[in-house]
């Protein structure tokens, strides 16, 4: 299993970030998930956080190291998240159950499976175009599907944020599942909230296709924020470049081995800094020096005040 992953969550122009993103993996299975806590109801961020925790915990229990049935896992995980939100609402004594969207993807043995609730999306990009994407559980999507409005009208529709399925609501969530989709070298998987796809819409694929997600995704978020202007929603995304192990083995030689699956690796630290050492004593000394300066300038300030 070999992939490059980038995740980021931005607050946009909102006071609160109610989006949550997470990923984890075992040796054989990878889990990606994005949840967008709903602002119209209280404590959307609680719902999103609980959902993410519940699904990630469930994954860690089940993926040992592979999931016996990934489709069943998705269904059970989303159901567990829905229950967990209700339990948390009861525990905190919240009158209105908090709600969240959720999109989850599992990749195991080079096959992707995904499921979603609400209007957070999954895209599979291959050869520069969208091979597959989720259909939002939203009023405008229904109107578009029935031919009542065009996609362009949907973008301007006053009720474009209205969704009819979510986790944590009073109704049993409607969950849509993908087919088993074998991945190929170069495929890109994208999970994101409406704060990302909303402003970008049809450009999303073009901005990401044939790029390294590490560099294109931050740029794309900048662009989404720029287009949203003064009313940018929270923006959250997880995107991966999928690489076929065998193809890699042919094109790369042994200086790029696949990392063990249970460690995180980060971009290499600048090697010129390797000479920098800082002992505990030096840290303490620096802090003490700063605190003295603060005391001194506070003292002068008080002197001036009196």
């Amino acid at each position: 299993m070999k992939f490059t992953i980038y995740q980021e969550s931005r607050i946009g122009t909102r006071a609160l970030n109610q989006d949550r993103v997470a990923y984890c993996y075992s040796r054989d299975a990878l889990l990606l998930l994005v949840a967008d806590g709903m602002g119209g109801h209280a404590h959307g961020e609680v719902a999103a956080q609980v959902a993410v925790n519940a699904i990630a915990t469930f994954f860690q229990q089940e993926a040992k190291p592979n999931l016996p049935d990934p489709m069943f896992f998705l269904s059970a995980a989303l159901e567990a998240a829905h229950q967990a939100i209700h339990e948390e609402a009861a525990r905190q004594g919240l009158s209105d159950s908090p709600r969240t969207t959720c999109v989850v993807c599992v990749v195991q043995h080079d096959v992707a499976y995904w499921a979603h609730v609400g209007d957070s999306r999954f895209y599979l990009i291959r050869d520069g175009r969208v091979l597959s994407q989720t259909r939002d559980h939203s009023l405008v999507q229904t109107l578009v599907d029935s031919g009542s409005i065009t996609a362009e009208q949907a973008r301007q529709h006053p009720a474009r944020n209205r969704i009819f399925s979510c986790l944590g609501g009073t109704q049993t969530p409607q969950i849509d599942f993908s087919r088993k989709t074998p991945l190929r070298d170069g495929d890109q998987l994208v999970l994101c909230t409406d704060g990302v796809w909303g402003p970008l819409e049809t450009d999303l694929c073009a901005q990401i296709a044939h790029t390294n997600v590490m560099t294109s995704v931050p740029r794309m978020l900048d662009e989404a924020e720029r287009r949203a202007g003064k009313s940018s929603d929270n923006l959250s995304i997880i995107a991966i470049n999928w690489e076929d192990d065998e193809v890699q083995a042919l094109t790369c030689n042994s200086d790029m081995p696949t990392m063990p699956m249970d460690v995180y690796t980060m971009p290499p630290a600048n090697s010129t800094q390797a000479v920098n050492k800082l002992s505990d004593d030096e840290i303490e000394e620096a802090i003490e020096e700063i605190r003295n300066s603060i005391r001194l300038s506070t003292f002068t300030r008080n002197q001036e005040d009196t």
């Binding site: 070999k2 992939f3 490059t4 992953i5 980038y6 995740q7 980021e8 969550s9 607050i11 609160l16 970030n17 997470a22 993410v52 925790n53 990630a56 590490m214 003064k230 696949t258 990392m259 995180y264 690796t265 980060m266 971009p267 630290a269 600048n270 010129t272 800094q273 390797a274 000479v275 920098n276 050492k277 800082l278 840290i283 303490e284 620096a286 802090i287 020096e289 700063i290 605190r291 300066s293 603060i294 300038s297 002068t300 300030r301």
Partner: protein
């Protein structure tokens, strides 16, 4: 496999030293800033050193994980964070953010700053639909330059002045924030972790050799910030200007809408050749405080500037 993990913030309600975390205010590549309350329930802003390429805090964790091979780089960044602390601790000026405390916890360090009510100059300008008034420009920037003068007097350069690093208190008084890029002038320390600069506001010399930085570097950023206030967008990046200057001079772009003197002052600050810019903040400030229209207008600006 490469991964980039954005660090998770400390949870609301977390007791950090003698402060209680309320919520995250902002997240940068090198730090997280929180709103917190001290034991007297006074709000403070706490900046946590947490470079996201070097230290990982997992969901729900408190201690970040710092791998051995990143320790040196982490420590180097720590030194820069100390520099910022040192710089700010020495400063005592109403137009410069005030540092209240500095401490070590959770395998990293924290800087406690006075929490200011208000909004950034960027937010102010973006929210405004009409044009920013000449008087607003003169008063805000004259006061801000009072703070910057003090910074330069302490032989510190800010090096990242831009609309989002200038805070307007609810009383309209500006405060200079975020000395994360600041550098002590005339002190040749190790190069910083990564020179931080913001395209559009960083002077051309910030893209080049570090020994050409000086007060004129911050002055370029002041000019660019003023330009951005009028334009409601960032001016072109200075490294691009060096190759092909597409910047429309303020004097031409807003001719007749603001005084020639104000527009000329902006263009003066934004000269690509640093030797053609005002050599000191004082020289620049004099211009802002002497608007055309005689002594009366000048007194109006001056009175408001010193209040």
């Amino acid at each position: 496999m490469t991964t980039t993990q954005i660090n998770h913030a400390l949870p609301p309600g977390f007791q950090l030293d003698r402060y209680r975390i309320e919520r995250q205010i902002s997240l940068g590549g090198f730090s997280i800033v929180y709103l917190a309350y001290d034991d007297n329930e006074t709000p403070v802003a706490i900046k946590e050193y947490l470079p996201n390429t070097l230290a990982l805090r997992a969901e729900g964790a408190i201690l970040p994980e710092i791998r051995d091979e990143h320790r040196a780089a982490f420590n180097h960044g720590l030194k820069c964070f100390f520099e910022e602390g040192r710089a700010l601790a020495r400063l005592n000026h109403p137009n410069v953010v005030r540092v209240l405390n500095f401490f070590r916890a959770n395998a990293t360090v924290y800087m406690v700053m006075q929490y200011e009510e208000g909004h950034t100059l960027r937010e102010h300008v973006m929210k405004k639909t009409g044009k920013v008034s000449e008087n607003f420009m003169r008063i805000v920037f004259s006061r801000l330059l009072n703070g910057l003068r003090e910074v330069h007097t302490q032989r510190i350069l800010h090096l990242d002045i831009k609309p989002s690093n200038i805070y307007l208190r609810t009383d309209g008084n500006p405060v200079l924030l975020d000395f994360g890029a600041s550098r002590q002038a005339l002190e040749n320390d190790a190069p910083s972790l990564r020179p931080t600069y913001t395209p559009g506001f960083a002077a051309p010399e910030q893209y080049e050799a570090q020994d050409t930085l000086g007060p004129w570097t911050d002055i370029y950023a002041i000019g660019a910030t003023m330009y951005a206030c009028l334009a409601h967008s960032s001016p072109p990046a200075s490294n691009q200007r060096v190759e092909n200057d597409t910047l429309v001079p303020a004097a031409r772009r807003w001719q007749g809408k603001y005084s020639e003197q104000l527009l000329g002052t902006i263009d003066w600050c934004m000269q690509i050749d640093r030797q053609k810019r005002p050599m000191s903040v004082f020289a620049l400030q004099k211009n802002l405080m002497d608007p055309p229209g005689g002594k009366q207008a000048a007194r109006r600006v001056r009175d408001k500037t010193q209040s």
